[in-house]
């Protein structure tokens, strides 16, 4: 029994253990695609005014496809892991596919059980547990709000 299991048992809080899954901590500590990209076509900085998390999202869109994607920023494990996983998942997808995923992801965070089953979300499903922590939902959505801002319907 490792420490994390012990903490879980001591606290007996399944929702919390569900929130801080190893995959999330791993993305927090070793974020993927936290770098510059070439041929940046879109970039935006957004923050959560009330907690101060900040994400820069960078896209290189070519022929309606996300040829490359990266992020920078600072914040909590949830916002950074969400950004990191998002970049992994969206790279190579068409903009339309990306926006569809964004919709499914948002539904999952708002507690939709069907969305939490959607295989196309891949690792991102590890963030389903955030729906139990309403104040943290905005952390998980920060990178996705950047995406909407850059290529969403109102962009």
């Amino acid at each position: 029994m490792n420490n994390r299991q012990a903490a879980h048992d001591g606290l007996n809080d399944a929702e919390l253990s569900q929130l801080y899954q190893e995959v999330i901590l791993d993305h927090y500590r070793r974020p993927r695609n936290k770098r510059d990209i070439e041929d940046t076509t879109h970039t935006v900085t957004m923050n959560n005014p009330l907690c101060g998390d900040v994400i820069d999202l960078l896209l290189s869109v070519k022929g309606g496809r996300i040829a490359d994607i990266s992020f920078k920023g600072k914040g909590c494990s949830i916002s950074l892991a969400s950004a990191s996983m998002m970049t992994e998942r969206l790279k190579g997808k068409s903009v339309d596919e990306a926006l569809a995923l964004s919709g499914t992801f948002t539904e999952m965070l708002h507690g939709d059980p069907a969305a939490a089953e959607a295989t196309e979300l891949g690792d991102l499903r590890a963030l389903a547990g955030v729906s139990k922590f309403p104040v943290r939902v905005k952390c998980a959505l920060l990178a996705w709000n950047c995406l909407q801002e850059l290529v969403g319907p109102d962009a």
Binding site: N3, A7, G10, L11, L25, C51, G52, D53, K74
Partner: protein, 412 residues
């Protein structure tokens, strides 16, 4: 021989109904008093009783309830004026809180400033003592200058002194920092301001709850504070200023209560403090504010300070024993508002994990973004103590931090 009557914390806690609460199935451990303190029954009851027995609008009525409401409101003013050592109740203006008090000064007194004038602040100021001056700078072109910190995490008084000069009109600083827990040498700085003919404004939001304040001894010209941080209700606070300064200032907001005569062509202002209290004031809230001051006075600042000092050193000792615990600000000679980071756990994650164990701390910039930039962090966790906090609660905090570390699988 120590004659300080010790604080009977159990009895104090019995006055605060919310401390019986559970959060996520655990007893509430409220360590967020620097954001807002909890309220004793005495204050809550005084407000209910005011509404149940005495309410009416104040100042303008000849009937009994109006007299009772006015007496209660003005009695609260006198109590609070006494609480901070004002010479006259008329020197105390009721506002919504510290923020409005400072905005009042920035608008009313600040309307006399012009391009070329300078205001000296510090990097540790709360946004409430920065943004009103930025807005004034936009209106009038005054220049803002900011004093930094020493390596030890205290105000760099030499740097501050070097910023004060013949163009300085105001030196504004916090009495106690809401992130670093340090108390600034206000009397010394008021003296530096007065040497060049400038005024000194003090943000007392974090001081009045914890220490006896005597505006006369401090020698400042404006003193701002909030009820909700000192056992009082939301919706009310105060601005103290020397009477001559208040009298010389133009009004801030216009409306009922603040006038002596209104004609279509122009109006004549009421005497202070009414000149600065436009509209129906927060009457029940002022009553609760006064009772909060009485509550604190009855416990006594000697006892409160001794209790808080004991808790603070106990907490710092226990927390220093945790690997990865990093405190911001000095560890000696400080109050019990403790900003920290713990390993590589982000403060928001810490706050969430602690919350699930019943422990309420704050995470973020604490309305101190410029200080955070100065310290090179985006956020800190902050645990803040008050007169109802116990050693046992500190122990729960420490255990909860260990759980957080374990949840994060230790630190890398």
């Amino acid at each position: 021989m120590n004659t300080t009557p010790a604080l009977d914390v159990d009895r104090v806690r019995a006055d605060f109904p919310i401390l019986n609460r559970e959060v996520h199935g655990r007893p509430l451990v409220y360590l967020d008093s620097a954001a807002s303190s909890q309220k004793p029954t005495q204050v809550i009851r005084a407000m209910s009783e005011y509404f149940e027995q005495h309410h009416s609008n104040v100042h303008r009525g000849a009937h009994e309830l109006s007299v009772e409401a006015t007496d209660a409101y003005e009695h609260a003013r006198a109590t609070l004026a006494g609480f901070i050592g004002a010479r006259e109740p008329a020197e105390l203006v009721f506002t919504r809180g510290t923020t409005e008090s400072i905005n009042l000064v920035a608008y009313a007194w600040g309307s006399g400033l012009e391009r070329g004038d300078e205001i000296v602040l510090t990097v540790m100021e709360h946004h409430s003592n920065i943004v009103p001056w930025q807005l004034l700078a936009e209106r009038s072109g005054v220049r803002l200058r900011f004093a930094g910190l020493t390596a030890a995490g205290r105000l760099d008084v030499d740097h501050l002194a070097s910023l004060i000069g013949p163009s300085t009109r105001l030196v504004g600083l916090t009495h106690v920092s809401n992130s670093l827990g340090i108390t600034n040498p206000v009397a010394e700085i008021a003296g530096l301001a007065h040497d060049v003919g400038a005024l000194c404004l003090v943000d007392g939001a974090q001081a009045v709850p914890h220490m006896p304040v005597d505006v006369g001894a401090l020698g400042c010209d404006f003193y701002a504070f909030s009820a909700h941080k000192m056992c009082g209700p939301t919706g009310v606070g105060a601005l103290w200023a020397r009477q001559a300064i208040l009298e010389a200032m133009p009004p801030f907001q216009g409306g009922g209560e603040m006038i002596s005569e209104v004609k279509l062509e122009g109006s004549v202002w009421a005497p202070v403090p009414h000149k600065f209290e436009a509209g129906t004031p927060p009457i029940a809230e002022a009553v609760g504010f006064g009772v909060a001051a009485d509550y604190i006075t009855a416990l006594g600042f000697e006892a409160i300070s001794a209790h808080e000092a004991d808790l603070t050193s106990y907490a710092l000792n226990r927390l220093a024993g945790l690997d990865g615990f990093e405190l911001f600000g000095p560890s000696e000679d400080r109050l019990g508002v403790l900003s920290f980071r713990y390993g590589d756990i982000h403060p928001h994650d810490l706050a969430t994990i602690l919350d699930r164990q019943g422990v309420a701390i704050r995470a973020g910039h604490h309305c101190n973004q410029p200080l955070m930039d100065y310290l090179g962090v985006d956020a800190t966790a902050r645990a803040s103590l008050y007169l109802y906090t116990t050693r046992g609660e500190i122990d729960v905090l420490v255990d909860a931090l260990l759980v957080a570390r374990d949840l994060f699988g230790g630190f890398e």
